[in-house]
């Protein structure tokens, strides 16, 4: 089984005992600085401007729809008894899931010493924060009186004379998502400080220099600072890793602590986490593949990076498939009629189309990644990842809506139909996401230059060491 391709640039092949390079080309430190900084320093391309205008228009639409919703009331959504958790919650879980890849790439892959994360972690973290912003929007407006959402916080109120209900998973969610948002922001910002200093030192313009100077807190690159910085980074990674797991776990508790058939199953926590990682990586790939060619970053974000992410998608997609199977098996094995009905209804009830969309997108489509050809061809990856994103949206749809529409009380059964506002908000949330992401590309370092340089240094060092050992062997 020879997988070797006689091509010096193909770093997806790794001979055991040697490590393939993560950065391609005859790159030195300055080249890395140049290729990352040019993204923000050159004039915006027509593609960027066009994309931004479209995204910004969609964001305006979202804003207007929120105003309309607040002015009119939540009746403008399709949420009706018994489906009180309609699209807003589906969108919320979808976006929170997407928001998992960034911190996962930064934190968990850091702990596992996966060097390849350095080229993609910055953009992925940014994506996390923007996705969490999108996610936060939905429960915020779903509370009905959005201007009173601060009642969720445990503060001594002179008007209410009461405290939040800590035995409720919905309140856990408030804490989990806001903690996650905050820690992700800290982690992202902290990782960016040395690169912001690079931006500062490269800027010709006085004000630009001042703004980046303020943002980077006067970073000088002192070794003492680096030492504490790395320690803090490692600690934050160690804290963020369980945090990532806890967030989607708690989101899954929203469903699983209830007694609704199809929601109350103990595998929900790890299954939701796997699904979140799955969808997050799919979104990272969907963004990074066009971005790397548009921003000329192919030497830093190589095919190998893409391939590794494809492998994670394959693994988590299969885990998700295993969880679907386990749920079905246990529903049958458990012999609880309501539970059995819920699962048969999922697959063959009125929402069969959503269920089978979910299964084919989430379980079947990533199986293509068993083939190396598919893992290394960017357009195939993009197509599969878009399918995965669709599938993961439908997973949340299936869980939320199918179970609610067929509760214990047959007299209350109903069929959910989204309204135009539901559609508009889903599309508008993509506007918010892409607006923020495109702004990020233009103003902040899209790749963690310091870490890429560091791994380049390691690469050189290892090449030296290998050469020395090679000599010693002969």
């Amino acid at each position: 089984m020879s997988l070797a391709i006689p091509n010096g640039l193909d770093n997806t092949v790794e001979r055991p005992g040697e490590r393939a390079p993560l950065v391609l080309g005859n790159t030195n430190y300055h080249d890395i600085t140049e290729s990352v900084c040019q993204v923000a320093e050159r004039k915006p391309s027509a593609g960027w401007v066009g994309g931004f205008l479209v995204a910004f228009a969609l964001l305006q639409m979202l804003g207007l729809l929120i105003v309309y919703l607040i002015y009119t009331g939540v009746g403008v959504w399709g949420n009706r008894a018994p489906i009180f958790w309609g699209w807003p919650i589906v969108n919320f879980v979808f976006w929170v899931g997407i928001g998992h890849a960034g911190t996962l790439i930064s934190a968990i892959l850091y702990l596992f010493r996966q060097e390849w994360r350095t080229s993609i972690n910055r953009a992925a973290e940014a994506m996390t924060i923007f996705a969490v912003a999108c996610a936060g929007t939905f429960p915020g407006i779903h509370v009905g009186r959005a201007w009173l959402a601060f009642w969720l916080a445990p503060y001594p109120s002179l008007n209410l004379w009461m405290w939040p209900q800590f035995r409720s998973p919905l309140l856990w969610d408030v804490f989990a998502v806001s903690t996650y948002g905050t820690v992700s922001l800290l982690f992202w910002y902290m990782g960016m400080v040395p690169d912001l200093a690079t931006f500062r030192d490269r800027s010709k313009n006085k004000y630009r220099r001042m703004i980046y100077g303020l943002l980077c807190l006067g970073w000088s690159g002192s070794s003492r600072h680096w030492m504490r910085y790395e320690k803090a980074y490692a600690i934050l990674a160690a804290l963020a890793a369980p945090l990532v797991l806890s967030v989607h776990t708690i989101v899954s508790f929203d469903f699983a602590v209830s007694q609704v058939p199809g929601w109350h199953t103990t595998i929900f926590p790890p299954y939701f986490v796997a699904g979140a990682i799955f969808s997050g990586f799919a979104m990272v790939l969907t963004l990074m593949i066009p971005a790397r060619s548009m921003l000329n970053l192919e030497k830093l974000i190589t095919i190998r990076h893409l391939e590794n992410m494809c492998k994670i998608i394959l693994a988590t997609g299969s885990l998700v498939g295993l969880a679907y199977g386990t749920e079905f098996f246990i529903a049958w094995y458990g012999q609880v009629p309501a539970e059995q009905f819920a699962f048969i209804n999922r697959a063959f009830g009125p929402y069969w189309w959503a269920y089978w969309t979910m299964v084919s997108c989430n379980v079947i489509s990533p199986q293509l990644f068993w083939f190396k050809k598919c893992r290394t061809t960017p357009w195939i990856i993009v197509v599969v990842c878009i399918f995965v994103n669709i599938g993961m949206w439908f997973e949340r749809f299936v869980i939320t809506i199918t179970s609610l529409s067929r509760d214990y009380l047959p007299s209350a059964w109903a069929y959910f139909s989204p309204t135009w506002v539901d559609w508009g908000m889903l599309i508008g949330s993509f506007g918010l996401f892409f607006t923020l992401f495109l702004l990020f590309c233009r103003t902040l370092p899209v790749i963690n230059m310091a870490e890429v340089k560091s791994s380049l240094a390691k690469q050189h060092h290892m090449a030296h060491a290998a050469a020395e050992h090679g000599e010693a062997e002969h």
Binding site: R15, G17, L111, Q259, Y333
Partner: protein
């Protein structure tokens, strides 16, 4: 870059790469003593059967068996995952895991007593009792569906399938690794990596179902989708502990003195710490969902474990299986002391035995409402300890037997050098 002197790589036939004779000579005592202890222990367990704990005998055997099985399965998973992610750091300790992984084969023979129990209706798995449904007022139609899965022939077929898959994987990876010791062929590593993906999938599926069959079906009306993951969490945690302890013992007896460094203990320690958290996460999630939902068909399992002595054991597990080792292995300074780390690993291995005991033994109780399971008295307690100790001794003895015919390190693995010079940053 570093100030250390360049490490010296020893030739493949270096004496420190084979099992130290002081350990090799322990084989026979361990095998013999273990077998005797196991037989005596299980015999005592049968004697300890009582009105309130009628299935004590076989359950004790199952406890001991599940304990060593999870160690072997955890080791198998360790090997698979190292290949899957092309890990470099772990090569020096991978052979230790491989030695335990291959014990799946003898464990298949030790599984026979459990199959044997199927011939005695309701002596281990209550679903083998044809009168179970009527005695407990269960719906006949529902019970018929349930027993279409839980019946002796299908159970045996599934068990055989699990062992075929595990055994197949273990033999494949064992052969690949030991053959490489002789040939030094790099392509062998490529091959093992290539198959690691499907192997992990197969492993996940079979382990999950084996956990349902051998653990969850002890309480045939109870179900939890998370159960397989819970067993897996315990297995992978204890496998890392086992590797740590064995590495330390081997080094104390002179093997691999320069190969396994403090860096490897540090890394194993990080994994142990991580998996302690993972085990807690899975256990807590499972408990929280069932506690919160409060549905009678699910709470019965925890109900039996919240009363009497098992209630105390539940609290003890929270404190001693999570809190104490969590705090104990949190610090980098502790992880970087092999002796301390080996001690913590030993401790967690004991805790894991208690965890398995806590899963299996309450189901030996007489299944009437509100019947509180007990330890089977002093006799039962001694029997349980003796069986677990005996089984473990047997397991370790078998491991030594396997190791004595082979090297204790994958000497020609292409990543061995990377592993030896590995440093935590």
């Amino acid at each position: 870059m570093s100030e250390h002197a360049a490490p010296k790589f020893k030739p493949a036939d270096d004496p420190t790469f084979s099992l130290p004779s002081s350990l090799a000579s322990l084989q026979l005592p361990l095998l013999g003593g273990g077998l005797v202890a196991l037989i005596v222990g299980v015999g005592m367990a049968f004697a300890a059967e009582s009105e309130s704990m009628p299935r004590f005998g076989f359950s004790t055997y199952l406890t001991a068996y599940m304990y060593v099985l999870t160690l072997a399965l955890g080791s198998l998973f360790f090997v698979l995952i190292q290949h899957l992610v092309r890990a470099g750091w772990s090569v020096v300790v991978r052979r230790i895991a491989e030695c335990f992984m291959i014990l799946i084969l003898p464990l298949a023979i030790l599984f026979l007593p459990i199959l044997f129990s199927l011939f005695f209706e309701g002596r281990l798995f209550v679903w083998t009792d044809p009168n179970f449904a009527s005695a407990h007022g269960l719906d006949a139609k529902m019970w018929a569906t349930k027993t279409s899965f839980l019946n002796a022939p299908f159970f045996i077929a599934r068990s055989v399938l699990y062992f075929l898959i595990w055994g197949g994987l273990a033999v494949y990876y064992w052969r690949g690794s030991t053959t490489q010791d002789e040939t030094g062929e790099r392509a062998a590593t490529d091959r093992m990596q290539y198959w690691a993906g499907p192997a992990v999938m197969l492993f996940a599926l079979t382990t999950s179902f084996a956990a349902f069959d051998w653990g969850m079906s002890l309480a045939p009306m109870w179900f939890s989708t998370m159960f397989g993951v819970y067993i897996f969490a315990g297995a992978i945690l204890s496998a890392h502990c086992l590797i740590t302890v064995v590495s330390y013992v081997l080094q104390r007896h002179g093997a691999m003195k320069d190969e396994i460094t403090v860096e490897h203990y540090h890394d194993l320690g990080k994994y142990i710490f991580g998996f302690i958290v993972f085990w807690t996460y899975i256990g807590f999630s499972q408990y929280l969902l069932i506690w919160y939902g409060n549905m009678p068909e699910e709470t019965e399992w925890f109900f039996a474990r919240q009363r009497g002595v098992f209630g105390g054991l539940s609290i003890a597990l929270i404190l001693l299986h999570w809190l104490v080792p969590f705090l104990g292995t949190m610090s980098r300074h502790i992880r970087r002391r092999p002796g301390l780390m080996a001690m913590w690993a030993c401790y967690i291995l004991v805790m894991h035995a208690i965890d398995i005991y806590w899963i299996v033994m309450p189901e030996a109780r007489h299944l009437v409402h509100e019947n509180i399971p007990n330890l089977g008295g002093a006799l039962g307690l001694i029997a349980s300890i003796l069986s677990i100790v005996g089984m473990t001794a047997l397991f370790v003895g078998l491991g030594l037997r396997v190791a004595s015919g082979n090297r204790v390190i994958a000497v020609r693995d292409p990543r061995l050098r990377e592993s030896i010079v590995f440093e935590n940053l």
